[in-house]
Amino acid sequence: MSPQRLGLVAVIVVALALPFVLSNFRLFQFTLVFVNAIALLGLNILTGYNGQISLGHSAFYALGAYTSAIMIDKWSVPYMLTLPAAGLLCLVAGFLFGIPALRLEGLYLALATFALSLAVPQILKYFEHWTGGSQGIVLSKPDAPFGLPLTPDQWLYLMTLAVLAVLFWLAANLLAGRTGRAIVAIRDNPIAAQAMGIDTALYKSLAFGVSAAYTGVAGALSALVIAFVAPDAFNVFLSITFLVGIVVGGLASIPGAIFGGLFIQFVPNWAQDISKAAPWAIYGLFLIFFMYAMPLGIAGSLRILWIRYATRARRDPTGTPVGSLSKQ
C-alpha cells in the first residue's frame, strides 16, 4: 500500500471514530467542517481547476438550502431525497448561469457572480410566501433511521461524512480523467485548449454546473444540520469565506477542501478566544500570516514538503540527488 493510501485509510478510521468520542457540540462543528468542505470542493472545481473566479457561490449554497427546506417544510418530502434534488437544481442553475458568464473574464466575472450573491438575500425576502421572509424556515433535526442507536447529531455527522466521501470520490475521478484534463487545459491556456479541439464553451459551463451542484448539496446538508434557514445567512461574506477557504486550503487540490473547511470553521472561533474586543483583527492577521507562510495554501505546502522528502529519499549514498545537474 502506498503511503498516500495508508494516510487516507487512517484519516477515514479517525473520522469514523470521532462521533463516539466527541461531545455533541464538537460533533456539530465537525459536521459543518464537512459541509464546508463539500462547498469548497465545488468552488475549487470552478476556480482552482477551471480558473473562473466566483464570488457568487453563496447563491448556489442558498438555492440548495432553500430547496431542501421548502421540500421538507411544504411538501413533507423525505429529507434524503432533497439532497439529490438540490444538487440537480443547482447543476441546471449553475450551467445556465455559466453560459452568459462565458463572455466574462477575471474581474468582470467576479463582479457578475458578486452581483448574484448580493441579490440572493433580497430575492429570498421578496418571495415571502415560499421562503418565510426574513424569519426563515425552521426544521427539525432528523432521527437516525432503522432504529440505529445514534443521537441525531451522530447520525447527521455520519450521513454528511458518507455524502462527502461519495462526492470527493466522484470529483477525484472526474478531475483525473479526460474531462478533468480539458477543464485544467482551459485554465492554463484557453486558446491552446481550443486549438486542441476542446469545446471550451461547453466545458466552462459544465464546470460551472458541477461546481454549483456540489455547493448546492452542501447548502442542502447545512439546512438539515443547522435545522434552520434564513436569508441573511447567505450573504456576500459567505461567498468571500468560501474563497478564503479554497485559497487557504490549496487551489486545485481535493484534500485542500478539507483543510479549508477546518480553517473557516475553527479559526474565527480561536480569534474570538484570543481577543473578545477585536476578533476580526486577529482573524485578519492570521489570514495574512498564513498567506505569507503558505502562499500556495496548506495542500500546496504539503505537496512541496512531500516532494522534498521524496527526492531526499531517492538520493544515492554519496548524497547527490538523482538527476542532479552537478556533473555539468
Binding site: 476556480t47 473566479i53 452568459p100 463572455r103 466574462l104 473574464e105 474581474l107 468582470y108 467576479a110 463582479l111 457578475a112 458578486f114 452581483a115 448580493l118 441579490a119 433580497q122 430575492i123 425576502k125 421578496y126 486558446i191 491552446a192 456576500v236 468571500i240 474563497l243 478564503v244 485559497v247 487557504v248 487551489l251 474586543a277 477585536a278 476578533p279 476580526w280 483583527a281 486577529i282 482573524y283 485578519g284 492577521l285 492570521f286 489570514l287 495574512i288 498567506m291 505569507y292 502562499p295 500556495l296
Partner: protein, 293 residues
Amino acid sequence: VDIFFQQVVSGIATGGIYGSLALALVMIYQATDVVNYAQGEMAMFSTYLAWSMINAGLPYWVAFAATLVIAFVGGIVIERVVIRPVENAPVLTIVIVCIGLLTILNSLAGWIYTYTQKPFPSPFPNRPIRIGNVIFGAHDVGAIAITLIVLGLLYVFFRYTTLGLAMRAAAQNPASSRLVGIRVGWMLALGWGLAALVGAVAGMMVAPVVFLDPNLMAGILIYAFASATLGGFTSPGGAVIGGLIVGVTENLVGTYVRFIGTELKLTVALAIILIVLMVKPSGLFGRSVVHRV
C-alpha cells in the same frame, strides 16, 4: 417632470460618490494590476482619522489636508509591509491578503471608535441651491466638484508627467520597465498611496451624507465596484461616468418601478449592469485585452 429631474439630480449626487471610490479602484488597478478589496476600509479608516482631528479642534481644511498626507503615506506603508511579501504569489493569494487587511481595519476601527454612528461635518454651506423647481444640495455639488478636480489632477499626472508614465509602464509590463530603469516596486507602492489618497477624499465626501461608522464603505464599495466594472477597469473617466449611471439608474428604478421599490433596487441596478456587460464584456469605456499567443 420636476420629480424626474429631482431624482436625476440626487442620483448624480450619490453617483458622484460611487464614482470617486470607483476611481480609486481603477487607479490602483492600473498602477498595480490588483483589485484592492481593502480600498473601502482604507477610506473608512482615513475618514475616522479626519474625524479625530476635527474633533480635536483643527479647522476642516487643515484636517482634510493632513488626512490626505496620512492616507498617502499609509497606503505606501501598507504596500511595502503587507503586500510586498506576496508580490509574486498568485493573484488569488493577494486577494486573500487584501481581505485579511479589510477585516483588520474594520475590526480596529470598531474597537477604537466603537460601532455607534458619528456625524461628520461638511465643508460646504448647509443651504440648498435652487434652480427652477429642482433643488441641489450644496454638499452634493461640492462633492461632485471635488471629484472632478481629483479626476482632472490624476489625468494630468498620468498623462503628462514622467512619473505617471513610469507608473503606467510598471503596471503594464513590469519586466520591460525594470530593464529601462524604472523601480517597479516603488511604482506599485506609489499607486497604493495615490489610491488611498483618492479613497480618503471619497470617504470624507460621503461621510456627511450617510454618517460615519466602521461599515461606512461596505455598501458603497459594492456600488463602486459595479461602477468601475461598468465603466471599464481600464478607464478612469469611465469609472466616474459609470458611477453616475449607477447612481441615476438606481434612483429612477427605485422611484418609478412600483413593485421594485427600495427593497430590490440594488438587485435591479446590478442586473442592468450585467446586461450591459453581456453586450460589452470589458465595460463601456474599457479597452478589451488582447492576448499574445
